[in-house]
């Protein structure tokens, strides 16, 4: 069993716990276990694009340093830190590259880490779990672990921004990605292409400008419905929350019926691989995906 040093990030312990639990369960099935870094901290969520503010880069570098230490304690692990959240993936990847290219920056940040007797020495690689699935495990192996093909699910992959932007952090082609499509097909479901696959959901504006998010979400959902999708697939807890919550809000205030449940890609894997349904924590979703699964007899 290969082991990976896994960085959860804050949301996978709260709103998106089904994302984490399902991913860990399937990672064991695929003999590539995700093992959580002990004592991890928040990566800072959004990456700072300023050149002159090192403060906001300390948290992600500390994550890299702690993951490096963790890798040393694991048997059969390589110098990779694996994330599930696409926002964490992007932030960690960008900072990893920045400090690799700028020794001076790393020196100043390491000076801050000294207090906790920690140090980072440019020897980690950041990977999103989708990259591990594609490049290390392979979708053929994923397909062979499927016991219940997801027949009847018409899934539209919604990548969001952070899996594909910027150049330093992208996990696939930024204008024509295929990793989620390949995964969906290996699980026996149908892929429905939507041109709004990376049309920004409004992100953190959900805090102070909810109308912006609602507007974006309705467009994204409608584009997928128009092409025949019956659910959306995501890899970002913020996309998931925005799509789920704003659809529900709109449904309650206007009586709109056209809605799509949201799945994390790992939840679909868990369903297809016959894991108990409870690990997905579908009860946390605002639009319950279990209704659709029941309709398609994929629930049990």
């Amino acid at each position: 069993m290969v082991k990976y040093s896994y960085f959860p990030g804050c949301n996978l312990k709260t709103d998106a716990r089904g994302f984490e639990k399902s991913a860990i369960a399937v990672s064991k099935r695929l003999e590539s276990e995700l093992v959580e870094i002990p004592n991890w901290n928040c990566c800072g969520t959004v990456h700072t694009m300023t050149t002159d503010n090192l403060m906001k880069r300390i948290a992600p570098v500390r994550v890299l340093a702690r993951s490096r230490k963790h890798v040393g304690e694991l048997n059969d692990a390589n110098n990779q830190v694996v994330t599930l959240c696409s926002m964490c993936n992007s932030t960690l990847k960008i900072v990893e590259k920045e400090v690799r290219e700028d020794e001076e920056k790393l020196k100043v940040i390491n000076y801050q880490l000294e207090e906790d007797e920690e140090e980072y020495s440019n020897d980690m690689e950041v990977k999103h779990y989708l990259e591990i699935l594609r490049d290390k495990i392979g979708f053929e192996k994923v397909a062979s672990a499927v016991v219940k093909p997801l027949k009847g699910l018409k899934l539209s992959p919604y990548y969001g921004c952070m899996l594909l932007h910027p150049e330093e952090a992208k996990i696939d082609d930024e204008e024509m990605p295929s990793v989620l499509e390949d995964l969906i097909e290996s699980l026996g479901a149908e892929v429905v292409f939507s041109p709004l696959f990376k049309y920004c959901c409004g992100s953190y504006h959900i805090v102070e400008e909810k109308d912006i998010v609602t507007h974006q979400v309705l467009k994204i959902v409608q584009a997928a419905i128009d092409r025949g999708a019956n659910a959306l697939v995501v890899a970002c807890p913020l996309c998931a929350y925005n799509l789920d919550q704003q659809q529900k809000m709109y449904m309650e205030t206007t009586g709109r019926k056209n809605i799509l449940p949201i799945f994390y890609f790992s939840q679909l894997m868990a369903v297809a691989m016959g894991e108990p349904l409870e690990i997905n924590h579908f009860e946390d979703h605002k639009i319950d995906p279990r209704r659709l699964l029941k309709e398609l007899k994929l629930e049990g």
Binding site: T45, V46, T48, C200, Y204
Partner: protein
Amino acid sequence: MSYEYIKYGQEEKDFIEKIEEISGQNIYSCYQCGKCSAGCAFSNKMDKTVNQLIHLIQMGQKEKVTSANTHWICASCLTCTIRCPREIDVAALMEAVREYILREEPERVKIADIPKDDLEKLPNIALVGNFRKMTG
């Protein structure tokens, strides 16, 4: 057609220099093709489109730049950055304008004014992300 006379003195030059320093970008690389605004998911909500804001930065028009809503509407999705034919990190310019303002007035979003219900319901990722972009 009407013309508007603009002032271009030391104050304007200082503003341009500061934005370039924070963002690490050369503002004059932009040749106003408009691709950033064409692909922006939020152009329809901005009072000045992204390329219009960049044009105003090029001319050092601090008041017009800082009073626009463009940089506040920008959600840092980075679509403009990956598509710019001049390889400008356009989103970093938006961030630089936000930072320029936040370093003087650090509370675009007042945390105390957010309804308690929202603070309890919203995921951490939204709150932390928002405060990192909207407070100094």
